[in-house]
């Protein structure tokens, strides 16, 4: 019975070292036939024998053991699940990896590349409608991904495939993955040419200039926090904020930051969290400020690694700070299911939810959101309102009191949730991608 891929790895390493089976067996004091069984994954190996083999091959024992194998099998299972194979087939991933370790690596690498492609698509899809050359490049990438996906599925599904077809498909996979690498590189070069350093942040829209400005500063402005520089001055110093609109937007955000910093210092906020926990209502009460202010301050607290989104009464986004696994599309309208928008119809109500963001990693976050008036109140005039949402990354088992997450996506065009009630337009990703 096969006991993992360690044997396959030993065989590969021995071949790389230019050793015959009998030579290696002799060096480590076992019979060639026993080494043959090990190399074909028919004998479990560990302990001193493994160390001896690793030593004879001049590699670290960990390079031969199960860590990498487990990662490979996990990746194959992930690929199988994504292809919606029956569970019984998913469970044969280890057998597949054991019998065809090289092909399994090819398949896993292809799947990883498709994943990387998906992330590329997500980043670029905003531009598709605006840039025909980019649209053509992405078309090329998607076609290659389609070929890889279809071919990989055949290899994974069809147990009776002939050697001739299998070899041909493996050749195609190899060819397509190279093509994918080349076309991805060409695309990156194109983007560099279009939006590279020589143009500063001259990326397109004022919002993009602002996003790039804040990203460059890592959303941290110590001089504004400490009051040693005014927002106007900092904006004036920036070479990246080219357009008047971008300067205006950045100045407004930084002025708000300066006001917030005057009310709640990050150090005091950090200390108070240690005392009362991550409770925006209690924190707002303690500092005698609005919950919106606290959410914005929490968004600036580096240790939380939080995302932050602010929109006005129309739902137009005024500020967006991404965090790993949570981004807001620049051009397309965001997901209508974001709790950010709930507050606009119930001003003052503070919501706390768990959200799951569609994507490869399906990350979960705890989000607090509130909408509050931002204009001076007067009779018979609805106040201007801004909604603020704080997005806190969750570890896997956190927040058990909010067990069912709200399932959201970045924007409809790149969201794989096919039957979402809030869908505005079809996704460019087909189901199960």
């Amino acid at each position: 019975m096969r006991e993992g891929l360690t044997g396959s790895r030993i065989r590969e390493r021995r071949a790389m070292a230019g050793l015959k089976q009998a030579e290696l067996a002799s060096r480590i004091g076992i019979s060639a036939s026993y080494l043959n069984l090990i190399e074909h994954n028919r004998r479990r190996i560990g302990g001193k024998l493994l160390l001896n083999i690793a030593s004879a091959l001049g590699v670290d024992a960990s390079a031969l053991t199960e860590g990498a194998e487990a990662a490979l099998i996990a990746k194959l299972r992930e690929a199988a699940s994504a292809a919606k194979l029956p569970k019984v087939d998913v469970n044969t991933a280890d057998e597949f990896a054991g019998r065809f370790p090289g092909w399994a690596e090819v398949l896993a690498a292809g799947y990883r590349k498709v994943g990387a492609l998906e992330r590329t698509i997500e980043t670029l899809s905003d531009r598709l409608a605006h840039d025909p050359k980019l649209a053509a490049s992405v078309h090329e990438l998607l076609s290659t991904a389609a070929a890889i996906r279809s071919t990989a599925s055949i290899l994974a599904d069809d147990k009776k495939i002939t050697t001739e077809w299998r070899d041909r498909f493996h050749g195609n996979l190899d060819q397509d993955s190279r093509r994918l690498a080349q076309s991805s590189k060409a695309l990156v070069n194109y983007l560099d040419d279009q939006f590279g350093d020589q143009e500063g942040y001259a990326i397109g829209s004022p919002q993009e200039e602002v996003d790039a400005f804040f990203a460059e500063h890592d959303y941290t402005f110590e001089e504004i926090e400490s009051g040693t520089i005014a927002a106007e001055e900092l904006v004036g110093q920036s070479e990246g904020l080219v357009s008047g609109s971008a300067r205006h937007i950045a100045r407004e955000i930084l002025q708000q930051l300066a006001l917030d910093a005057g009310e709640v210092s990050l150090q005091k906020l950090h200390d108070q969290i240690q005392s009362v926990g991550m409770d925006p209502i209690r924190l707002a009460r303690y500092f005698a400020v609005s919950v919106s202010t606290i959410l914005r301050r929490l968004g600036s607290l580096k240790s939380l690694n939080a995302g932050l989104v602010v929109c006005d009464r129309t739902g137009s986004l005024l500020f967006r700070k991404p965090t790993k696994g949570f981004t807001i599309a620049r051009f397309d309208a965001p997901c209508a299911l974001l709790p950010l928008f709930d507050g606009l119809s119930s001003v003052g109500q503070i919501s706390r939810n768990k959200i799951a963001v569609a994507g490869r990693s399906e990350m979960e976050f705890e989000v607090f959101a509130v909408a509050e008036p931002v204009s001076v109140l007067s009779y018979n005039n609805a106040p201007l309102v801004q909604a603020t949402m704080l997005v806190l990354p969750l570890k896997s088992n956190e927040l058990s009191d909010l067990s069912k997450p709200i399932e959201i996506g970045a924007t409809c065009r790149v969201c794989p949730r096919e039957h979402c009630p809030a869908r505005r337009e079809p996704s460019i990703l087909s189901s199960g991608f």
Binding site: I148, R149, N172, I428
Partner: protein, 122 residues
């Protein structure tokens, strides 16, 4: 007698994968890599199903679709469009022109086979 599908697609490895899939299902698969002569080929082969890429050299899949649907002989021909262009406008144009099914790349094999079976059930 085997049912016949004409696959008009310029991506060789997609052609190979789909040819394998459909052949395994008992189809006779003809292929065509350029759009310019696709309509002529349809007239010659009289396929039971046409699978059509949207972006093709010579003539777009949409133009081929429009030309075929304007001919009474091919008004009922099942046409499955496979495309990386998944925008609402492209889909709307294809549907207005009479596409039977619109599928975006990268598609799954299961999806393709289900669509083929569905479109040729009768």
């Amino acid at each position: 007698m085997k049912k016949r599908v004409l696959l008009v697609e310029d991506e060789p490895n997609i052609i190979e994968a789909i040819t394998f899939l459909l052949s395994r299902e008992g189809w006779h698969v003809d292929t065509q890599t350029d759009g310019a002569t696709a309509v002529k080929r349809v007239r010659e082969l009289q396929p039971d199903l046409l699978m059509l890429d949207h972006m093709l050299p010579g003539k777009s899949g949409l133009d081929i679709l429009i030309e075929l649907r304007s001919d009474d002989q091919f008004r009922a021909l099942p046409i499955l469009m496979l495309t990386a262009r998944g925008q609402m406008r492209d889909r709307a144009e294809a549907e207005a022109a009479g596409v039977s099914r619109f599928m975006t790349k990268p598609f799954s094999n299961t999806e393709v086979l289900a669509a083929v079976r569905d479109l040729t059930r009768n």
